[in-house]
């Protein structure tokens, strides 16, 4: 499951950035493509208020931002326009030498999105971005920068999806660098909707300054070949907070190695990490690390696993690293099956066995996670039925 060999990467080419034509209007996409985007939380027909970005293979095919509080740009244009990106933000949170994937992104650098919420302003609608992998035998290589200026607020929904095609290997590599300035708040929700021939290596790192808040929601429910990611947040300013919520479902054939690492570097910082993992036959490694380095920081880590098939596996690895006496870190973890007494209790109220199980499973996936965007909730709901069909 650990993917050390990315030798196969050498056989994959990266598409030309002019391969796909720019579209002024996303509703011009084919019905198949629209459907695909919807599964990744982006609705090409209805969300014109939000501001949308679509990158197909290496081509930015749509980028539009009607909201005044936030900028959304093709990364190449942003790099031309704002010198400070290269100076202060570019490969600043993530090192290009982190691993072979970041090196590969560096080799073919410059495509992706730039999002910046303006100082003191709040974006009303979530910014929608979509990374879409179409061609077989290719690598999509993306480098994004997100900046929330002081006391600004925004929500971003990133959908990652692929066109279903022949089982040629494909890969998605993504570097995302997120900067949450003083008193700013970013809610960053990502839905992975990859196919079973796609290898996925996102590399995300976040810096949160004084009084800032970063909330990450991540959902992966499809039979992706292999995702490995372990995004990190560094809470460098007093009173900064973060929250990571991972909802992971592994159908047969899926391999998910998903973690969250939070470094509580400043005084009075706090975080929680909640990971819900469910397998109907695939493998999930669910990691979490909280490092306590600042005075009176506190963090809680919760890893829950539901194994619905003997073919599946859930391996939770919760880690706490306390480096001071004046800190408060805790974790809880549990892996098991759907409890018979819960099923029968709900049946005694008139639900049949399948209804009871699907309610419990849905509850398991969303319990304790507050403020999950509607699109994520809908995606979870849609998938619970599939989970059941696979497992029972």
């Amino acid at each position: 499951m650990q993917s050390s060999d990315m030798n196969d990467l050498d056989d994959l080419k990266t598409e030309n950035k002019n391969e796909h034509e720019y579209k002024d209007d996303l509703s011009d996409l084919s019905e198949d493509e629209k459907e695909n985007l919807k599964h990744a939380g982006v609705d090409p027909d209805t969300d014109e208020n939000s501001g949308q970005f679509l990158m197909k293979d290496q081509s930015v095919v749509h980028c539009n931002m009607p909201q005044k509080a936030v900028e959304l740009m093709d990364m190449e244009d942003a790099l031309d326009k704002y010198e400070e990106i290269k100076n202060d933000y570019w490969w600043n949170n993530v090192s290009p030498n982190k691993d072979e994937y970041t090196q590969r992104v560096k080799q073919n650098d410059g495509q992706g999105y730039f999002i910046r919420s303006k100082k003191g302003q709040e974006a009303i609608f979530p910014v929608q971005t979509c990374l879409y992998l179409e061609h077989s035998g290719t690598i999509q290589s993306v480098h994004n920068v997100i900046i929330a200026e002081e006391n600004s607020e925004m929500e971003i929904i990133t959908g990652c999806t692929s066109k279903k095609n022949d089982k040629e290997p494909r890969a998605h590599l993504g570097v995302s660098e997120v900067y949450v300035k003083k008193g700013a708040k970013v809610t960053y929700s990502m839905i992975h909707n990859w196919d079973e021939d796609v290898k996925v290596r996102p590399r995300t790192s976040v810096t949160v300054e004084e009084g800032g808040t970063f909330i990450s929601n991540y959902v992966s429910m499809k039979a992706v070949k292999d995702v490995q990611m372990n995004p990190s947040a560094h809470l460098v300013g007093k009173g900064a907070t973060s929250s990571f919520n991972n909802i992971l479902v592994a159908p047969p054939g899926a391999h998910l190695d998903i973690g969250s690492q939070v470094y509580l570097e400043a005084e009075d910082t706090s975080t929680d990490i909640i990971a819900k993992a469910l397998t109907t036959g695939g493998e999930i490694i669910s990691r979490g690390l909280i490092s306590g380095e600042g005075k009176q920081c506190h963090g809680h880590l919760d890893c829950q696993g539901l194994v619905l098939s003997d073919e599946g596996r859930i391996w939770t690895i919760p880690e706490l690293d306390g480096k001071l006496s004046d800190i408060d870190l805790s974790h809880e973890a549990a892996v098991g099956k759907v409890a018979q007494d819960e099923i029968e209790y709900l049946m005694s109220r008139g639900l049949d066995e399948d209804e009871a199980i699907s309610l419990i499973v849905k509850g398991f996936l969303s319990a304790e996670i507050k403020g999950l965007p509607d699109v994520l909730n809908k995606e979870i709901e849609k998938n619970v039925q599939k989970i059941e069909n696979n497992a029972f």
Partner: protein, 254 residues
């Protein structure tokens, strides 16, 4: 309403109930007494249809139909409802979710749900961190919206304070006696009793609930068998005075 004929029930190969015979008529409410571990809860869960409680002999007949092989939900559909003593926590499913999925809060129940102070728990996960009183009120609300014909009540007064016992007792009584629907009618007690069609089996240790729920008769369980039948008040007084030792002694005399 309910007829149990020669029922034996085993859990994990061990026989818990032996040759139980019991009839509950329409509108009749029966109290179940007995020491801990004597099989009272087993009987209620076997009637409800819990898989763990394996019927080795006998029949459970509800409204003329043998229900031994029916799954729990079908028994619930027929009109059997249970108030659990220690219901499981179901994370991610709120009381409101289950209420909306399984029943209807009709206009007549509105008043009642207010009485039950549902605001404190209706949007929380089922039984998650509930106080004793909240568990009972949530259980009661869940029964209320389904309006079962036969209520299986497992220690409705356990783990709650005096105030809640009164609230739960009165609510149960009005559910059993259908006062919800005929609340404003000025019926005589006799007419009320005749009108009553719901039946109940009530397990009680302390008997406190009997101050509010009018039971017609009582039975006493000992070691998986029915050892005594009679007037609820008399039996309760006897137990209070002598404990269940007297039942044992009496049973030997028979």
């Amino acid at each position: 309403m309910l007829e149990i004929k020669g029922l034996s029930v085993a859990v994990g190969g061990e026989e818990i109930l032996q040759d139980i015979n019991l009839k509950v008529e329409d509108g009749e409410i029966v109290a179940l007494f007995g020491p801990n571990g004597c099989g009272k809860t087993t009987l209620l869960k076997a009637i409800m249809g819990y898989k763990e409680f394996n019927i080795t002999e006998g029949e459970i007949i509800f409204d003329g139909e043998v229900i031994n092989d029916l799954p729990i939900n079908q028994r619930a559909e027929l009109g059997i409802g249970m108030m659990f003593q220690r219901p499981p926590v179901v994370k991610g499913v709120t009381v409101r979710d289950i209420i909306e999925m399984t029943g209807e809060l009709e206009a007549g129940h509105d008043k009642l749900s207010k009485k039950l102070n549902v605001e404190g728990f209706i949007d929380r996960y089922l039984n998650d961190g509930f106080s004793g009183g909240e568990i009972k009120r949530s259980e009661l609300l869940q029964l209320l919206v389904r309006q079962p014909e036969l209520l299986l009540l497992d220690e409705p007064e356990s783990g709650v304070d005096v105030e809640n016992v009164e609230l739960i007792g009165k609510t149960l009584n009005s559910l059993l006696h259908e006062e919800l629907i005929i609340e404003d009618n000025e019926l005589t007690r006799k007419e009320l009793h005749e009108h009553r069609k719901r039946s109940g089996l009530v397990i009680t240790h302390t008997g406190h609930i009997l101050e509010y729920v009018n039971t017609d008769r009582a039975i006493v369980f000992m070691e998986g068998k029915i050892v005594c039948k009679g007037n609820p008040g008399e039996i309760l007084d006897m137990i209070k005075e002598n404990g269940f030792e007297e039942c044992k002694r009496c049973n030997q005399v028979i």
